[in-house]
Symmetry: C2
Subunit: 333 residues, 2 copies
């Protein structure tokens, strides 16, 4: 087995975020009319995406997607890695490609030539800084087993899978195929559960994946409770600890808990003077953690790097770093 | 003459901004290779736009264009108005349309169906907060006299023209046509000089426009010096004062000077704790000034509203307001 060339290769939805400020009343109206759930991610189709867009306020467009955000953070720490995901051959697709490649992230998945447009996530940020996401997956759901670059995966220490991709059947197969390729090469597989509703939609498949293929699990409190249908956080933690080598569970303002081989590490959240937009908090926690992990740091240090990145991303609009995470980590050390 | 329905209708380039952080070294390299001028706006063609984009860091896309930014600020104060400008029938064009209409700004110019793409401005923001702009005008230069909606213009107190449009001959005719329509309806015409290099490229035409058609002139120090080819600020001010009813000249951190009918008003800049990105400072000064003016405020109050808006926009990335200017104005009063 040769030494890995890269730290992390991610497999995820290729999405462009359209971020807009929203009042609480607008979310309430949209909930009543369209079932929008504040703070969660709702899947929408193209016609609903167009309808919602026309009702939203002015927006800012920026590359997003959970695993793409994580790779941007990982690169900002100084990590080398790649991304596997599907855009269409259109303007938003070109923006998504550019933004990853501009950070020296390898991204060679062939764009979809015909059919759906590049996926987009319409994000409404309320005055409390919470984000409510409405995702039109578009071309990103066309990711299939053939797109999973096994050479790239076997060259990476960790293959990181985004739970949101589970919303389409073909992507589930791509996940299993990516996991097998990683393990065949002696590498590790990480998974982010992404969203309690996503877990709810695909609980049995997630459990099977976690039990059989996942070494490192990222989740928040609600997600692991949903995965094990257990309202007691500590008992859900015990269950996840028996399934994976490492579980990193984020708890918002209460920081995070990392469990591995019977040991538990409690990580405090970094102080943030003004929470502007929580989009990307979990993604950047994973970025910091994975950077530390692939650099051989101890688990507590990995968690600390995750907390540093999460604190930066929630202090501004947008899901990706606005400053160098390498610099932030240096200052904190 | 009926009462005007709207405060301001703007005529300008319809551009989407692609904003990216840049090192000083990158600007130096681009200056040596391509003549990029730090702090200024350089016009580029499509192939150079693609080349520069591929070398730039990850970006954020947001609707821009000088006069479009001014209208966004004007609407944020609570003003009612319209915009005349040309996008293409593509994704970036739809983003530009949406962002204006989402602020209740009337924007009915027909998109270009064939030919150039929607124009874009590649903006590099250096660590000192200065922005260096590289504009591919694209479809925006196809704006012609037929696009100038004379009914809309005669319904507005002020028709506001963006100097940047002067870079194409057909647009110059559209300007004159818009000015005549405004004056025929008994309204006022405002012009922003936009950029000292733009003034330099079209000095004779600008002078003719200012002398014959402009009531309110917006400029910064460098622009009026360039217009009158006069290195002495006070003497350039005297010249502009003899040409227009009102001249509002911005001086960066030194605030602004307003001259009208022999009176001079000195406006202090508002304190800004952290200048992040100066993109849109002049545009938002004009927004505040025009809002005050169309609400019948005295010129000193108009200048103060301009300073409030400019201070907000330079404290974050992006050329348009992130908070309500109506609220800021209320707090300041």
């Amino acid at each position: 087995m040769s030494a890995p060339k890269y730290g992390v290769v991610s497999v995820g939805n290729a999405l462009v975020d359209v971020i807009s400020k929203s009042s609480e009343e607008f979310i309430d109206e949209q909930k009543a009319k369209h079932g929008m759930e504040k703070g969660a991610m709702t899947l929408i189709d193209e016609s609903r995406a167009l309808g919602l867009y026309s009702e939203m306020g002015p927006g800012t467009e920026t590359s997003g997607g959970s695993a793409g955000n994580t790779m941007a953070g990982f690169a900002s720490f100084g990590g080398k890695g790649g991304f596997i995901g599907k855009v269409a051959d259109d303007e938003l697709g070109k923006i998504f490609q550019h933004d990853l490649r501009a950070m020296d992230i390898i991204f060679e998945t062939q764009p979809l030539q015909m059919g759906a447009k590049t996926g987009r996530c319409l994000i409404l940020v309320t005055p409390d800084g919470e984000r409510t996401m409405n995702t039109f997956l578009g071309a990103s759901t066309e990711l299939c087993e053939d797109d999973v670059d096994k050479n790239l995966i076997s060259d990476a220490q960790v293959t990181y899978l985004e739970g949101y991709l589970f919303d389409k059947e073909t992507a589930k197969n791509a996940f299993v195929s990516a996991s097998k390729a990683a393990h065949d090469a002696g590498r590790r597989v990480a998974l982010s559960l992404s969203d309690p509703f996503c877990v709810d939609r695909h609980r049995a498949d997630f459990l099977k994946l976690v039990e059989n293929h996942v070494d490192i699990l990222f989740a928040n409190e609600d997600e692991i409770k949903s995965l094990y249908q257990d309202d007691d956080f500590d008992s859900a933690l015990d269950k996840v600890a028996s399934n994976v080598e490492i579980a990193a569970v984020t708890r918002g303002a209460n920081g995070a808990v990392i469990i591995s081989k019977g040991e538990k590490y409690v990580i405090s959240a970094e102080a943030v003077s003004n929470v502007v937009d929580t989009t990307g908090a979990g993604d950047q926690f994973a970025a910091g953690f994975l950077y530390g992990f692939t650099e051989g740091r101890d688990l507590e240090s990995c968690g600390k790097l995750g907390a540093i990145a999460a604190a930066e991303v929630i202090s501004h609009i947008g899901p990706r770093p606005l400053v160098s995470y390498a610099e932030l980590a240096k200052k904190a050390a």
